[in-house]
C-alpha cells in the first residue's frame, strides 16, 4: 500500500494496529500548559495589573505642562520694571531625525542657514545625545532667536523632521541699569537646581529667578503651571483633549522703590563720581523701613543674562571688571568712618561716660595718648576744632572727642566706655550690634554682607593665620580708639548705616529694610502688605535727641554743611574713612560717606551716600542734598 512498503518493514510487534498509547501524560501536559499560562496571567493582570493600567494610561495620555506667565515687578508708583516675553529656541530631537546621515546633514545645513548654529556643532551634539542613550530629549541648539529667525524657522520646520521651535517664558528688563541689582534676573535651571526644584513641580525648561527680587520672591512670581492632557494613538495622532488646567499666573510685586528716584540717584551718583569709581546710595523711610532707592554703581544690563550666547563679550567684560559691577555695593561692607560716631555717641551717653555737656578743647590736630605699658600713641584729628561739647563734636566730627568717649584718655584720667580698653571695645561692640551692625539687615535681597564689629576675639580670629605674629593678634588700646571713630576693622554696608540713621531719626526703632511693598494677585488685588520688623535700640529717647541735635548742627554749620538744601531741614553725619596702605604723600585713600535724615523735626526719609574715594563733607554731603531735594519734590513719602 505504501510507497515505502517494499523497502522498509518494521519489526513485527504484538501490538500491531492496536492503540496502546498512554494518554495521561498528554492530559497532564494540557493542564500544565494552561496552569502555567494562568499563573502568568495572575501575575500580570491581578498582581501587577494596577501598574500596567497606569502604564496604559501614560501610553496614550500625553500630559504637557503649560508654563504660567510670571508675575510682574512694579515700581512704587505702579510702573512695570519687567516685561514677559517669549524666548524662542531651536531644538533638535535626535530620535525624530531621519535615519540616513545624508538627510540629517541636509537638515543641519539648513539649520545653520536659518539660525546660524554651525552644522558640525549640531551633528556632534546629536551624536553625543545618542551615545548617552537619550535621543528622545530635545537638544536646544540655539536659544534666544530673534523674532525674524523664529518666524523663518517655524515655517521651515515642517520640512525638517526632528527640528522644532519652542517658546519658553522669558523676561525683558525694561527699567534702566539702575534696577539690575534690585530686580536680578531669571535663567535656565542648572542641573543642581533642577534636582532640587523637580520636587516642587518645576519643569526642566522652566526658568527660575537667579538673584535679586526675581530670586528671592521666586515662589510668589512663578505662579502654577497648567496641564493639558491629550489622548494620542500609537502614531502620535491627537484624538481627544481630555482636560486642560489653565496655568495660574504668578503674583505681582509692588516695590517700595520709586523708579524715578532710583534712576535719579543712579544718574546723580554717576555724574558725581569724580575720582571715585564705585558708589552706592540708600534712601529709605525711617517710619516703615521701606526702601525708596537702593543704588549701586557701576551697574549692568540684566538682559545680558537672557542672551548669554549673543552677549558673551559684554558679560565677560563685566565679569573681569575690577570694580565688580555684579556686586551690590549698597550691601557691601566698607569702613564706615565717622558715620560710626553716631553709635559711639549713643553708647557713651547711655553708659554715662559723657554727658551732652562734656567738653573738650581740641587745639591741636594731634594728641598723645598713653596706652598700655606707657606706650604713647599720637592720635590725630582732622582739624583743630577748639572747644567742643558732644553736639558740636558730632557736628564737626572730632576724632579726639570720640577717642575720649570710647577708649578714654588714661594719662588724663579720663575713662573710656568700660573699665579698661578691652572692656570698652566689648561695650562699644555690643551697642554696634544693637544698632544692627555685624549682621545682615534682613532686607529681602540675597547676598547681603554682615560687616564686622571688631572685638579682641574677632581680632584674634581674623589674624589667626601663620603669616601674622602674636602682636597682630593682640588687642591694643588704639584698637578701641580706632573702633570708636569707625576705623580699624569696623565695616558696615551703606544699608546698615542707613538703618542706624533711621533708628536715630525715629527714636530708636531698628527697622528691617524691605524692597517689596505688597504682593498683588494678577488682577491687581493686594494679597499681602509687607511689614517691617522692628526692635528697639537700648538708647533713651533723650540721648537719641542729643545725637539728632548734633547731626542737625553738622548740616547747620559743621562738617555736613554742604548737605544744606533750600527749604529742607536736614540733619546728617559725614564720614571720611581711611583705608588701604599709606601712599607716597603720607596719606591714605578715603571713602566718602554721608548719612542723614529730613525733615529734622519729623523725619520722613533717610539718605545714605557712599563713594569709594572722596571726602564725606565735600563729595557725599552735596550729593545727598540733591537726593533730599528730589525726594521732597517728587516722591510722596
Amino acid at each position: 500500500m505504501s510507497i515505502l512498503d517494499d523497502r522498509y518493514r518494521g519489526a513485527p510487534t504484538p501490538s500491531r494496529n492496536r492503540p496502546h498509547g498512554n494518554l495521561t501524560a498528554l492530559r497532564v501536559a494540557v493542564l500544565l500548559v494552561f496552569g502555567l499560562l494562568t499563573a502568568r496571567l495572575v501575575s500580570m493582570q491581578l498582581v501587577d495589573g494596577a501598574t500596567y493600567a497606569k502604564r496604559s494610561r501614560e501610553n496614550h495620555i500625553v500630559s504637557t505642562n503649560i508654563l504660567p506667565p510670571r508675575g510682574l515687578i512694579l515700581g512704587r508708583d505702579g510702573t512695570p520694571l519687567v516685561q514677559n516675553i517669549g524666548v524662542y529656541t531651536a531644538s533638535v530631537t535626535p530620535e525624530l531625525l531621519p535615519k540616513s546621515q545624508a538627510d540629517r546633514h541636509k537638515i543641519y545645513l539648513r539649520l545653520e542657514e536659518l539660525v546660524g548654529v554651525p552644522s558640525l556643532e549640531v551633528q556632534s551634539r546629536v551624536q553625543q545625545a545618542e551615545d548617552d542613550g537619550r535621543p528622545d530629549l530635545p537638544i536646544p541648539v540655539q536659544k534666544y532667536l530673534s523674532k525674524e529667525q523664529a518666524l523663518m524657522l517655524d515655517e521651515a520646520t515642517t520640512g525638517m523632521p526632528g527640528v522644532a521651535l519652542t517658546v519658553t517664558p522669558g523676561r525683558n528688563y525694561i527699567g534702566s541699569d539702575a534696577f539690575s541689582h534690585i530686580i536680578g534676573y531669571i535663567g535656565a535651571q542648572t542641573p543642581r537646581e533642577y534636582a532640587q526644584l523637580k520636587g516642587e513641580g518645576y519643569q526642566l525648561n522652566e526658568p527660575v529667578g537667579k538673584s535679586g527680587i526675581e530670586g528671592r520672591y521666586e515662589s510668589e512670581l512663578r505662579g502654577s503651571a497648567g496641564v493639558s492632557q491629550v489622548e494620542q494613538d500609537a502614531q502620535g495622532q491627537l484624538l481627544d483633549v481630555l482636560k486642560t488646567r489653565d496655568p495660574a499666573p504668578g503674583n505681582s510685586l509692588r516695590l517700595a522703590i520709586d523708579p524715578g528716584l532710583q534712576e535719579f540717584v543712579a544718574e546723580l551718583l554717576d555724574n558725581s563720581m569724580g575720582e571715585a569709581k564705585i558708589a552706592a546710595a540708600v534712601v529709605l523711610s525711617p517710619r516703615t523701613g521701606e526702601v525708596y532707592a537702593l543704588v549701586s554703581l557701576p551697574s549692568y544690563d540684566a538682559n545680558i543674562f537672557a542672551q548669554p550666547d549673543q552677549r558673551s563679550s559684554e558679560y565677560n567684560a563685566l565679569a573681569n571688571d575690577p570694580r565688580k559691577p555684579f556686586l551690590d555695593r549698597a550691601l557691601t561692607a566698607e569702613a564706615p568712618g565717622s558715620t560710626f560716631k553716631l553709635i559711639t555717641a549713643a553708647a557713651a551717653l547711655q553708659e554715662g561716660t559723657i554727658t551732652p555737656a562734656t567738653g573738650r578743647t581740641v587745639n591741636s590736630t594731634v594728641l598723645e595718648f598713653k596706652g598700655e605699658n606707657g606706650v604713647i600713641y599720637p592720635l590725630y584729628d582732622w582739624r583743630a576744632h577748639g572747644f567742643l561739647n558732644l553736639r558740636s563734636a558730632i557736628a564737626w566730627s572730632s576724632n579726639i572727642y570720640f577717642y575720649m568717649a570710647s577708649c578714654g584718655i588714661p594719662n588724663e584720667g579720663i575713662k573710656g566706655l568700660g573699665k579698661d580698653f578691652e572692656d570698652s571695645a566689648w561695650k562699644l561692640g555690643a551697642y554696634a550690634r544693637a544698632f544692627g551692625l555685624g549682621q545682615p539687615t534682613g532686607i529681602d535681597l540675597d547676598g547681603e554682607m554682615a560687616g564686622v564689629v571688631p572685638s579682641p576675639d574677632q581680632k584674634r580670629k581674623a589674624f589667626a593665620g601663620s603669616q601674622f605674629n602674636e602682636n597682630d593678634r593682640d588687642w591694643f588700646y588704639a584698637d578701641t580708639c580706632f573702633m570708636g571713630i569707625g576705623q580699624g576693622d569696623v565695616s558696615a554696608t551703606p544699608l546698615q548705616i542707613a538703618r542706624v540713621t533711621a533708628a536715630v531719626a525715629n527714636g530708636g526703632k531698628l527697622l528691617t529694610p524691605r524692597l517689596v511693598k505688597d504682593v498683588t494677585s494678577p488682577d491687581g488685588k493686594i494679597l499681602k502688605s509687607m511689614k517691617s520688623e522692628s526692635k528697639q535700640v537700648p538708647i533713651s529717647a533723650e540721648n537719641l535727641a542729643v545725637i539728632r541735635d548734633g547731626m542737625h548742627e553738622s548740616v547747620g554749620y559743621g562738617a555736613g554743611l554742604r548737605a544744606q538744601t533750600a527749604g529742607i531741614d536736614i540733619a546728617g553725619k559725614t564720614g571720611t574713612a581711611e583705608f588701604g596702605p599709606v601712599k607716597s604723600d603720607g596719606k591714605r585713600d578715603q571713602h566718602a560717606w554721608f548719612t542723614g535724615f529730613a525733615p529734622f523735626n519729623s523725619p520722613d526719609v533717610v539718605v545714605t551716600v557712599y563713594f569709594d574715594l572722596g571726602v564725606g563733607g565735600d563729595k557725599a554731603a552735596p550729593t545727598a542734598s540733591k537726593i533730599f531735594d528730589y525726594f521732597f519734590k517728587n516722591v510722596k513719602p
Binding site: R18, V42, Q45, Y52, R57
Partner: protein
C-alpha cells in the same frame, strides 16, 4: 456493527459525532469573531458584508471550514492515511515553492498570494505530517519503541521542520517538533532513545543558533529578556502586549474599550496578538473562559485518541491535539512575554483563513476517527 448503529448512508455514524468537541471549537471561533471585530473596528469602516471586512472574511472561512469538517467526518480517515505520502510530497513541494516565490511579510516568507487569498502551506504541511506519522507508525509496528522507527519518524518530520525554519518561522518549526514528540511519546518511545535524541539536539543547538537563527530572532529573544532596552523597535511589540494584558486586570476594560487595542499600540491585534485584545478588553475572567474552552476542546481530542479504533486513528488524534496545544501555548506565551515574538496564530480565534480552514479539516479528521472507532477496534 451492532444493531444500534445500523443506520445506513449519510446518517451512519453521526450519533457518535462529538458535538461537545465541535461546540468548543465553534465557541472559540465565535469569540474570535468578536475579538476580530473589536480589533478592527477602528481601522475598518467599510460595509459589513464585504470580503474586506475581517469579521465577514473570517466568518466565511469558518463556514467553509465547517463544511469541510462535515465532509471529512464522513470520509474514512484511512483514505487520508492511504494517500499520506502523496500529501507529504505535496507539502514538501509547496514549502519549497514558497521559499522561491512566496510573499514576504515582516521579514518572513510564509504565504502564497492567490488573488484575495493568502495561502499558508505550512498549515497544510502540519496535517500532512500528522497523517504521515500515523501511517508510518500504524504500518511499522505501531509504536516507536524501536530506535530505527524513531529515527525514521524523525526523518519524516525533519524536512518539514527545516523548510519552515528557514522561511524563517521558528514557532511553526517548534510545532513540528512538538507534534513529532507527542506522537512518538504516545507511540511508546523508549525514554533512553528519547534522551539520546534530546542530547543530540542540545549538542546541535549552538550551531543552529549561530548559523541558522536569523538576527531578528536573536533580537526578539533578547528583547523578551529586557524589553525596555529598545522600547521603540523590537521591544515595542513586547512592551505593548504586556501593557495590554496587564492593564486588563480582572474584568477587562470592556469590548472595544481597550486603549492598547483601539489606539493601535498593539500590532496585528486580530492575528498574532488577539489574545492581548482579549486580555485587555475581557480581562482575566475572559482569558480563563478562553482557557476553559481550549481545555474542553483538547480533552475531547484526547478522548478521541483514547477511543480510536487503531493506532493510525489514535496517533492522528494525538497529533492534532499536540498541534492545537502547542500553537495555543506559543501564541499565548508570546502575548504574555514568555516566548519571543513569532508569528503563530491562536487556533480558531486568530484571523486567518488557512489556519482556520485547516483546523476545521483537522476537526473533521478527528470526528472521522471518533465516528469509526468501533469499526476499526481490534480485539
Amino acid at each position: 456493527m451492532t444493531a444500534g448503529y445500523g443506520r445506513q448512508g449519510v446518517w451512519r455514524g453521526w450519533d457518535r459525532f462529538d458535538y461537545l468537541l465541535v461546540t468548543a471549537a465553534l465557541c472559540l471561533v465565535g469569540l474570535g469573531l468578536v475579538l476580530i471585530y473589536s480589533g478592527s473596528v477602528r481601522t475598518y469602516s467599510g460595509p459589513v458584508a464585504s470580503f474586506d471586512n475581517p469579521v465577514a472574511k473570517q466568518a466565511v472561512f469558518a463556514l467553509v471550514g465547517i463544511g469541510l469538517m462535515l465532509l471529512i467526518s464522513k470520509l474514512d480517515y484511512h483514505y487520508l492515511t492511504h494517500y499520506a505520502w502523496v500529501l507529504y510530497g505535496v507539502a514538501i513541494v509547496s514549502l519549497l515553492a514558497i521559499l522561491a516565490i512566496g510573499h514576504t511579510a515582516y521579514g518572513s516568507t510564509r504565504w502564497f498570494n492567490l488573488g484575495p487569498l493568502q495561502i499558508q502551506p505550512s498549515e497544510f504541511a502540519k496535517l500532512a505530517t500528522i497523517l504521515t506519522l500515523a501511517r508510518f507508525f500504524s504500518e511499522h509496528g505501531g509504536d516507536a519503541r524501536e530506535l530505527r522507527a524513531l529515527v525514521m519518524s524523525l526523518l519524516i518530520v525533519a524536512p518539514m521542520g527545516f523548510l519552515v525554519f528557514i522561511e524563517p518561522d521558528l514557532g511553526t518549526a517548534l510545532v513540528f517538533l512538538a507534534i513529532w514528540l507527542g506522537v512518538v511519546a504516545v507511540g511508546g518511545v523508549s525514554r533512553r532513545h528519547l534522551l539520546v535524541v534530546g542530547a543530540l539536539a542540545v549538542a546541535v543547538l549552538p550551531f543552529v543558533w549561530t548559523f541558522a537563527v536569523a538576527d531578528y530572532q536573536v533580537e526578539r529573544i533578547s528583547v523578551l529578556v529586557n524589553p525596555d532596552e529598545d522600547p521603540l523597535d523590537a521591544g515595542y511589540t513586547v512592551i505593548q502586549s504586556q501593557i495590554a494584558v496587564g492593564s486588563g486586570q480582572f474584568w477587562g476594560k470592556g469590548l472595544t474599550n481597550g486603549e492598547q487595542t483601539q489606539l493601535r499600540f498593539l500590532k496585528v491585534p486580530t492575528k498574532d496578538f488577539i489574545f492581548s485584545v482579549l486580555a485587555e478588553e475581557l480581562g482575566f475572567a475572559g482569558a480563563i473562559g478562553l482557557f476553559a474552552l481550549f481545555i474542553l476542546l483538547l480533552m475531547r481530542g484526547i478522548r478521541a485518541a483514547q477511543l480510536a479504533g487503531d493506532t493510525a486513528g489514535q496517533l492522528i488524534a494525538v497529533g492534532i491535539v499536540v498541534l492545537i496545544l502547542m500553537q495555543t501555548f506559543i501564541n499565548i506565551a508570546v502575548n504574555v512575554s514568555l516566548f519571543p515574538v513569532t508569528g503563530i496564530p491562536l487556533p480558531f480565534v486568530s484571523q486567518g483563513g488557512s489556519s482556520l480552514v485547516s483546523l476545521f479539516v483537522s476537526m473533521g479528521i478527528m470526528q472521522s476517527v471518533i465516528m469509526r472507532h468501533r469499526a476499526y477496534r481490534q480485539t
